[in-house]
């Protein structure tokens, strides 16, 4: 139990005398109704069961922030880091700011934010390992690093940058609402530390003493409709029509006429110079995703072509099937899928916990993607295996595995797309993501087959035209998606506009190279589809399409800018983090910036887990995954 001192100052004490029945979104403030079995379950912190002392334990709590008063003294952040024993590169709470006006008519608004313990925690929905729990106690959303396998998906979906992925430990951790302090009647450490009289805490929708506003947002605060965050604001002092971000993100906030207040808008901070920055583009931690998505999508496209072509009796496919190129084609598909899966797994913070990826089948698109892709891979493997045999007996098995592969492909492919439709990442949250994935599958899938057929001399005119047609449609689909995406992002009143800007500047050369390659390969594919062509043209098409796909996918990952709160000039400034890593400043330990790193597959830990759990427990776990998920 948290040790309460004999004398605690008034400001540190929780003081809610009552509460409203429902919050502004219509949810009851009682997390669970009286008599609910969740109220009867013990509340255990660090192995210690606590008797209920706090009368408001089963009410949703949240922070109240008076933006007028925050002086950016960092006491809240420091108190939080001190209590949670965090290294400098991590913080559960951060202060960023926006500013506006002209000297001396200048105003800066500091925003201190941690986790908002949302009504609808997208982190909890998204986490494939079910490391998150929204507790009936205080409505706290807590995360267990011991369950987490370090994929970082929660950090993608959260609009507030609350979950923190630690590149050193390879796991996520986050604000725990200081529930141990709440249990003994104390406000969280950050609130007790506040020196500006800005940060407060209590039952949500209750006004702290001396406050008259409880607004859901202030300028710079991300959208509230995604998760219904449990934070309220007071901001009374007049501020300028435009408030700019001081971090490197090319955004400012512009006043709208309506109650919405302020909307993000492009602020081209670095001018419009086009650059390469290839190192940053291709050297990022997201490389694993590039390899995984491209590899699996190519294999899926090829699989689709082969299986459906076989079923519908397309002569070109039948001819391929009866050629010596058939098994090498299947083999290469198995290889690229396996390599993609391997790279994906090894980029996890805790690769040896891979099996946990299935835990949240009921809610997480990531779990579903993993399940679907695994089914596809199983189907592909089975299909390949039974293609080694000629006997009649193998046919139904080939069919069954083909069917499994297609089902897995449909399910996994769909969720591979769905998982990027994240409202907090506007650059991805567009149908072009789907168009790009499907288009890549068709284009790279057909070219994969063409490349295998080529050395065997099996790339017949018929097969060549078929593959060029499919590849061309894939490229066209991707191109269409990109056009629509570009138009949407250019005019977006969201972080998408800043991503668009980075695309044209920081990665401008790579962007135009990709566009050229895409257009060129589309033309070439069209030519080959109509006229056919020799092996060198196919090889050229394959190379152009592959390079275009790699650059395109790298851009997709490197350009996304989440709808997070603004950073400061150094701390929580992505531009400074990149600068520190590029220049080696990050080597200095007290700088608060660390390098991304890979984590080894800890076989011993995996074996230990297997040893320590009986088959019965494992079965229970499976049952739980399928039957007893989170409940509304």
């Amino acid at each position: 139990m948290f040790q309460r001192r004999e004398y605690e100052p008034e400001y540190a004490l929780l003081n809610d005398s009552g509460s409203k029945p429902v919050n502004r979104y219509g949810k009851p403030i009682d997390t669970v109704p009286p008599g609910d079995p969740l109220r009867e379950q013990p509340f255990v912190i660090n192995g210690e069961e606590l008797p209920q002392q706090n009368p408001n334990r089963y009410k949703q709590h949240g922070f109240h922030f008076t933006a007028d008063n925050c002086i950016a003294c960092h006491a809240c952040e420091a108190a939080c880091s001190e209590k949670n024993d965090l290294p400098p590169h991590l913080a559960f709470r951060s202060v960023g700011f926006v500013e506006g006006g002209s000297y001396p008519d200048y105003r800066r608004i500091n925003i201190s934010m941690a986790c908002n313990h949302c009504d609808d925690p997208v982190c909890l929905r998204g986490c494939p390992t079910r490391a998150y729990t929204k507790f009936a106690e205080y409505g706290a959303v807590l995360q267990d690093p011991d369950i987490c396998f370090g994929c970082g998906y929660c950090t993608w979906v959260c609009p507030y940058n609350a979950p923190q992925l630690d590149p050193v430990k390879g796991q996520v951790s986050k604000c725990n609402m200081c529930v141990d302090r709440l249990e003994v009647g104390l406000k969280p450490a950050c609130v007790a530390a506040c020196l500006g009289k800005a940060l407060d805490f209590g039952v949500i929708e209750n006004l702290p003493e001396g406050r008259i506003q409880a607004e859901p947002a202030i300028p710079g605060f991300p959208r509230t409709d995604i998760t219904h965050p449990n934070i309220r604001f007071q901001q009374m002092k007049s501020i300028q029509r435009e408030m700019v971000r001081v971090d490197g993100t090319a955004l400012k906030y512009h006043r709208t006429g309506d109650r919405e207040g302020y909307r993000p808008e492009l602020d081209p901070k670095k001018g419009f110079r086009r650059q390469w920055n290839l190192g940053r583009l291709l050297g990022s931690h997201e490389n694993a995703h590039i390899v995984f998505t491209l590899g699996v999508q190519a294999a899926m496209g090829a699989f689709l072509l082969l299986v459906l072509g076989g079923w519908f009796g397309l002569p070109a496919v039948t001819a391929l099937r009866n050629s010596p190129a058939w098994l090498p084609s299947l083999g290469l598909m198995v290889l690229v899928t396996a390599f993609g899966l391997f790279r994906l797994n090894m980029h996890l913070g805790k690769p040896h916990r891979f099996y946990r990826g299935f835990y949240n089948l009921r809610l997480s698109p990531v779990s579903r993607e993993i399940a679907g892709v695994s089914a596809f891979f199983a189907g592909l493997l089975g299909f390949t295996l039974f293609n080694l045999f000629d006997g009649e007996w193998a046919r139904p098995l080939q069919f069954l595995f083909a069917l499994l592969g297609l089902l897995g492909m449909g399910f996994g492919g769909y969720y591979m797309y769905r998982l990027y439709r994240i409202p907090a990442r506007p650059f991805w949250d567009h149908w072009h993501t789907g168009a790009s994935f499907a288009g890549t599958g068709l284009a790279l899938g057909s070219l994969l087959l063409a490349l295998v057929a080529l050395p065997f001399g099996e790339l017949t005119r018929e097969l060549g035209q078929l593959l060029a047609t499919v590849a061309g449609s894939g490229l066209a689909l991707e191109g269409l998606g990109l056009l629509a995406h570009g138009l949407a992002m250019r005019t977006a009143d969201s972080e998408g506009a800043a991503s668009w800007y980075e695309q044209l500047t920081t990665h401008g050369h790579a962007y135009w190279l990709r566009n050229l390659l895409l257009a060129g390969s589309l033309l070439l594919a069209g030519w080959l589809a109509v006229h056919g062509g020799g092996p060198w043209l196919f090889a050229l098409l394959a190379v152009m399409a592959l390079v275009s796909a790699i650059i395109g996918r790298a851009l997709f990952y490197v350009l996304v800018i989440p709808t997070t709160m603004p950073g400061a000039f150094f701390w929580r400034n992505r531009a400074f983090v990149e600068h520190a890593r590029d220049t080696g400043l990050a080597e200095m330990e007290p700088l608060g910036v660390v390098y991304e790193r890979h984590h080894r597959f800890d076989l011993k830990a995996l074996l230990r887990t297997i040893r320590e759990h009986s088959p019965r427990q494992m079965w229970e776990q499976v049952r739980e995954i399928v039957l007893a998920g989170p409940r509304p």
Binding site: P9, P104, K197, G584, L591, G629
Partner: protein, 734 residues
């Protein structure tokens, strides 16, 4: 609601397993917050928290205090005495006895060769009061050099000098409780939210309750300026003109407190005659504040039943620093705002124990605000210490800043540098380097071996820091508070007091002068010496101080014998008529003619260079640069530059720029912000080899404090950003 699981996970929360909390007053700024450091079962300091029943901070701490326990294990601590013949040689480890002998011999050799005063001792505002007192006794009573000063010359000398000139003695008359009574507050060049966050919190608490007008005088739109009722964005270095104009309005509109002036001051006629020349129109052309605002502020201030003024380095670090303080005191005196609840002129001090050194170090005179210039004081102290009164000089020697100029000119040949780092902190680094290079003998005594000044040392003595030691410190509101030894210094490092006592043994072979070993005993000796003085501490002892979470002086033995408890807070000076420290009990109103002698921006150097502090750093960053959870908020130097000016120079957010002054150049990262005017840049002074490569640091004629905040620079865009990043990185050792 959506719950993660039907079966709850066990909750695991970090628990540092603190077994014991130990008390100390914070070792950073002069606010004087009470801290408890938590020790785990292995005796390691793992946590810090504010002491909830301490009147000063009431449980709060700023981010530096919150991580103060990490100081003990921080990088770069010195663990062994080191010695070398020339500063270009490699260090050799040595033992304490040889090291201390070497210091003794070094001092005596320089003195014999070049005269007594050719050896200088420069100390600090960072040590404990008992240590200051002991060092003072050793230096004045045994070593016998008159060139003995502290780095407080860089922060508080103007306040000291101004108080002395106005009131006849140093000693801030107000207290934090004044915020709760005041009806108007003027902050002169003080950015409390960044420099003294806990004092700001006290102010904010009071202001939310009572809503008094806050007037901020600052050329930069600081958080305090932004939150003020009235912000006066003054032209740098012209505060005295504004003060004169405010007094002009007060007198011309008859808003002064005649009764108070009559009963408590001398010099009203001369003052009136001088301010007569400073009508708001004339003043507005000098200080850049329009005449109407001057009138409004004068009326608001003078009509308030109780009005207070606070100030920090915006006033002190200027060529008119001492005059600025006198001007503030003048304003307070003519409106009767001294010594009453909510009415005061309160200098917000810099270092944790700047007050302790002012009171007890004998740097500027003799203990407890005694003067070398007064024969009775020399007699009294010499008798008390058992030394020959003739051994004491008849007037104070040079200030730290003058000592360095004398070093440069070859008059000072030896130096003992204690817990201060002039290589970072003095203006015009190039000259400081030249001065240090010439020393025949230099001893650096510091808790950090990587202190940049150590580059020029021949002898390094590893000292303890903060709560590795035992003693007291005095804060801004004259509150003496206790530091307890929480952990031992690392390796062979020793508390400064231990070092001073061992050095004293070597100068005191006959044992004539007594040097008590325990801090508690030294404190009692100081108490004796304080009887009847302004800073009378004879009623206190270590135990009582800790019990009370600090006691404001004066608290006399008589009060204690009467059974009078020390007050929790709210103790003021000069509360009665005629109680000032001049012999006639009256304060002096001193006219302040104003001549602007600052370096001004011109065609070649078109920007004002304004330097200042960041909340996350402490002075030369030797401490906070090593604590990641402090340092990360500004790990490299940057300038605030107006976006319009930046655009004109082709400078973008995050670019490295070169700043060039008539003294040298520096590299910093550009942060465009409308916080500063188009003709000014703000540069934090914390970083080594940065701000002070540029500053001119003209000296105040009274306090000899450098004007860090008024220099001229030009800004150059750097074409090769990669090279600039490399240079900037190389200059940051930690």
């Amino acid at each position: 609601m959506l719950f993660g699981r039907t079966k709850k996970n066990p909750i695991k929360m970090p628990d540092k397993q603190v077994r014991e909390w130990r008390y100390a007053v914070c070792g950073y700024c002069s606010t004087g917050c009470s801290i408890e450091v938590g020790l785990d079962a292995g005796g390691r300091a793992v946590a810090s928290r504010g002491v909830a029943d301490a009147d000063v901070n009431r449980g709060k701490l700023c981010l530096k205090g919150i991580f103060e326990h990490e100081l003990f294990d921080s990088a770069g601590r010195g663990t062994r005495p080191l010695v070398r013949d020339h500063f270009r040689d490699q260090w050799r480890a040595t033992d304490w006895d040889s090291a201390l002998d070497r210091l003794h011999d070094g001092i005596r050799r320089v003195q014999e060769r070049h005269g007594r005063d050719s050896f200088a001792v420069i100390s600090t505002g960072q040590m404990l009061t008992e240590e200051f007192y002991t060092l003072g006794k050793l230096t004045r009573g045994l070593i016998g050099t008159n060139n003995y000063d502290g780095n407080t010359t860089l922060c508080m000398a103007s306040a000291v000098s101004g108080y002395k000139r106005s009131f006849g003695s140093d000693g801030p008359p107000g207290c934090y409780e004044d915020f709760e009574h005041t009806d108007c507050l003027i902050a002169w060049g003080s950015n409390l939210p960044e420099q003294h966050p806990i004092i700001y919190w006290r102010l904010k608490e009071a202001q939310e309750k009572r809503g008094f007008p806050l007037i901020v005088v600052d050329p930069r739109v600081t958080m305090l300026a932004q939150n003020a009722n009235i912000h006066l964005p003054i032209r740098p270095g012209t505060d005295v003109a504004l003060m004169n104009a405010l007094m002009h309005v007060i007198f011309s509109e008859g808003l002064q407190d005649d009764r108070y002036i009559e009963a408590n001051t001398n010099g009203i006629e001369a003052l009136r005659a001088e301010v007569e020349k400073w009508d708001p129109v004339t003043a507005s052309r000098v200080c850049g504040i329009d005449e109407d605002s001057i009138r409004v502020v004068a009326r608001t201030f003078a009509r308030a039943p109780a009005a207070m003024q606070i100030w920090t380095m915006g006033i002190n670090q200027s060529t008119h620093g001492s005059d600025g303080v006198v001007g503030i005191n003048n304003l307070a005196l003519i409106t009767g705002n001294i010594g009453k609840p909510g009415g005061t002129s309160l200098s917000i001090t810099g270092q944790c124990n700047a007050m302790g050194t002012r009171e007890w170090s004998s740097c500027s005179g003799l203990p407890n605000y005694r003067y070398l210039e007064i024969p009775e004081h020399r007699e009294e102290v010499a008798r008390f210490w058992n030394i020959d009164p003739e051994f004491l000089p008849r007037q104070r020697g040079m200030f730290q800043t003058d000592i360095y100029q004398a070093m440069e000119a070859g008059q000072i040949k030896g130096l003992w540098l204690i817990a201060t780092n002039p290589m970072s902190s003095l203006p015009n680094t190039a000259r400081i380097r030249r001065a240090m290079e010439q020393l025949e003998f230099c001893c650096v005594q510091d808790c950090y071996v990587d202190s940049e000044s150590n580059q020029y040392a021949h002898l390094y003595l590893p000292a303890g820091t903060w709560a590795e030691k035992d003693g007291v410190m005095t804060n801004t509101e004259r509150r003496i508070n206790r530091v307890r030894p929480i952990v031992d210094p690392p390796g062979e490092a020793r508390p400064d007091l231990w070092i001073f006592n061992r050095v004293a043994e070597r100068f005191n072979r006959d044992g004539k002068v007594k040097f008590p070993e325990r801090a508690a005993d030294i404190f009692l000796e100081m108490g004796e010496l304080s009887r009847g003085r302004l800073a009378d501490i004879s009623g206190m002892d270590h135990e009582l101080i800790e019990q009370n979470r600090g006691i404001q002086w004066p608290y006399t033995a008589e009060q204690r014998e009467r059974g009078e408890e020390p007050p929790r807070g709210g103790k003021r000076l000069y509360t009665e008529d005629g109680s000032f420290r001049y012999p006639d009990g009256r304060a002096r109103l001193i006219p302040l003619p104003f001549v602007d002698n600052n370096e001004q921006p011109d065609r070649d150097y078109p920007f004002w260079l304004n330097t200042g502090r960041l909340i996350e750093h402490w002075h030369g960053r030797t401490k906070t640069g090593k604590i990641g959870n402090n340092n990360k908020f500004s790990p490299i130097p940057f300038i605030e530059i107006n976006p319009d000016a930046a655009a004109g120079l082709g400078i973008r957010r995050g670019d490295y720029v070169r700043l060039v002054s008539r003294r040298g150049d520096a590299i910093a990262m550009a942060q465009p912000t409308q916080r500063v005017p188009p003709n000014m840049v703000f540069l934090p002074f914390h970083f080594h080899d940065c701000a002070n490569r540029l500053t001119l640091g003209l000296l105040d004629p009274h306090s000899r404090q450098p004007a860090y905040k008024q220099s001229a620079v030009r800004i150059e865009r750097i074409e090769d950003q990669v090279h600039a990043a490399r240079l900037s990185k190389e200059m940051r050792k930690f």
